[in-house]
């Protein structure tokens, strides 16, 4: 099978020493196994996520994403853009759609981009890595690579918000998306299809500015996973991963709970199921160790 190539937008949080650098490592491992080649967009910039709106007006925000798409079209013509971060994907795809609908905004964007010799054609499909896995490759191809099934590991599929709304994965519903559950089953693990907090918001960027409000929601997300007997939570979003994993100590202090629930990326699961080492799966990036995966990777 010929290698599939994509123009890759990794995003700020996946950079070396940043909060989801472990996500990038496991994605690279996963893509090696799946013969997917990621060509990083040269000199990409931040997308402003969904919290840049205070300082950033409409055109400056859209121009940030337009610069990335233009760079991709210049250096990787014909390749779909793929993002691993939900906010990167959402901002970029939203900008592309807005600029497609509004020709005067597109013209202004291109006037701005011309300052650096860039031009946006805006003809590039923009995908989340989950779309690449499920729509481009398909569950059968994902299953074919499994060397170490995640047998006996019970996993709550926490989809969250921005990988799911407003675009989502083709054929999935906003209220009860099932692709993470199907992915867990594909890898030989036990899914929890009726995990009721699978699309509950974790607070997003407000975890920083309104920590109490956010942590109250995160508490519910973890509690429901325990109620279903989950060994760990899996998510496709760096903000979900961080918010649900790293504040468990603080939540325990506030609510008297004893949470110690590992939260991993789908790519972590896949790297382990594909027989790769704990290091390649970036399991050393877990603040709450995913012991079941550590044990499987060591086998």
């Amino acid at each position: 099978m010929a290698k599939r190539e994509y123009s890759f937008y990794p995003g700020c949080s996946s950079q070396k020493g940043a909060s989801s650098s472990n996500y990038l490592i496991s994605v690279q491992t996963m893509c090696e196994e799946l013969e997917v080649q990621l060509n990083e967009i040269p000199d990409w910039n931040c997308c402003a996520a969904s919290i840049g709106y205070a300082g950033g007006g409409e055109l400056p925000r859209l121009t940030l994403s337009a610069r990335n798409i233009a760079l991709s079209e210049q250096h990787h013509p014909g390749q779909d853009i793929v993002a691993t971060c939900a906010a990167c994907w959402l901002s970029t795809r939203e900008a592309a759609e807005r600029l497609h609908e509004d020709q005067s905004l597109l013209a202004e964007c291109n006037t701005a981009l011309a300052e650096a010799g860039l031009k946006l054609r805006n003809e590039t499909p923009i995908k989340h890595m989950a779309e690449v896995l499920i729509e481009d490759l398909g569950y059968d191809a994902l299953k074919a690579r499994v060397k170490k099934p995640l047998e006996g590991i019970k996993i709550a599929g926490y989809v969250g918000c921005q990988t799911n709304r407003p675009f989502g994965i083709a054929g999935e519903s906003y209220e009860n998306p099932k692709y993470l559950d199907k992915l867990v089953e594909t890898l030989g693990g036990d899914s929890i299809p009726d995990y009721e907090k699978k699309v509950q918001c974790c607070g997003g960027a407000l975890a920083f500015s309104e920590p109490e409000k956010s942590q109250e929601m995160v508490k519910g997300i973890i509690e429901a996973a325990y109620d279903h007997g989950a060994d760990l939570i899996v998510t496709p979003c760096p903000v979900c991963q961080m918010n649900v994993e790293v504040y468990q100590d603080q939540i325990n202090q506030t609510y008297g709970t004893k949470f110690q629930m590992p939260v991993v990326y789908y790519s972590t699961l896949m790297a382990v199921a594909y027989g790769r080492s704990a290091k390649d799966a970036a399991l050393n990036g877990q603040i709450i160790p995913a012991k079941a995966l550590d044990a499987l990777a060591a086998k």
């Binding site: 909060s19 000199d43 205070a54 920083f208 409000k213």
Partner: protein, 212 residues
């Protein structure tokens, strides 16, 4: 900012809805709201909004200009997009809330102590420096946004978390010195400067006529 606010009040004396339609991103959708309340019921932080989205839309039509633009509510959006996908009239509610928040900021009407308004501005300022977010500097700025004394307390509270992030390679103290950046930083700044100029020019068209 105070002058712009006064000028806008003069220009749109009788219609806050018209002001929103002309000046707020996606504001032209506000009149389509049919007051069903699905957005308010779907919001994960709904219980914390003094005026949930449905109410904000009616207040805009009722001309409650200051109550809307000075409200903490428009800064309560987590961008979860629940309201957008559930709205039977398909209003881009998330974007309208961001648009209202940004307009309030332009007019200088943001509640001074609102933490999300501060954080959102810090995020934008941070990314504009190097073209990419510096998580370390953003985190530190966040800790100290309410002054030095408060910052030390917040930093101590989060000390254990910071250590854990560093130990797992997910936070790098070296980011304090330089850090990640786009290579064509001059080009990046030129592009964004031009985009801001074009944005300002468009706003000026909607804004108060000269001498108003």
């Amino acid at each position: 900012m105070g002058e712009l606010n006064t000028a806008m009040i003069e220009r749109y004396r009788n219609s806050f809805l018209k002001e929103v339609e002309a000046n707020v991103e996606e504001g032209e959708w506000v009149k389509m709201c049919m007051q069903c309340g699905v957005c308010s019921g779907s919001c994960p932080l709904g219980k914390f909004w003094e005026h949930p989205p449905q109410e904000i839309f009616m207040m805009i039509r009722a001309g409650k200009r200051e109550a809307v633009l000075q409200s903490e509510s428009v800064w309560m959006c987590t961008s979860c997009y629940n309201c957008i996908v559930r709205c039977p009239r398909e209003l881009p509610i998330t974007h309208i809330m961001h648009g209202l928040a940004h307009y309030a900021k332009r007019l200088g009407l943001v509640p001074k102590t609102n933490p999300t308004a501060k954080f959102a501005q810090m995020f934008w300022d941070n990314l504009m420096v190097k073209g990419r977010i510096n998580e370390l500097k953003l985190g530190l700025a966040l800790y100290f946004m309410n002054g030095f004394g408060d910052g030390i307390k917040v930093a101590l509270k989060n000390q254990k978390l910071g250590m854990a992030m560093m130990k797992t390679g997910r936070m790098n103290p070296k980011e304090a010195f330089g850090g990640h950046a786009v290579k064509d930083l001059a080009g990046f700044h030129k592009v964004l400067k031009k985009a801001q100029e074009l944005e300002d020019a468009r706003i000026a068209q909607n804004g108060p006529p000269a001498g108003a």
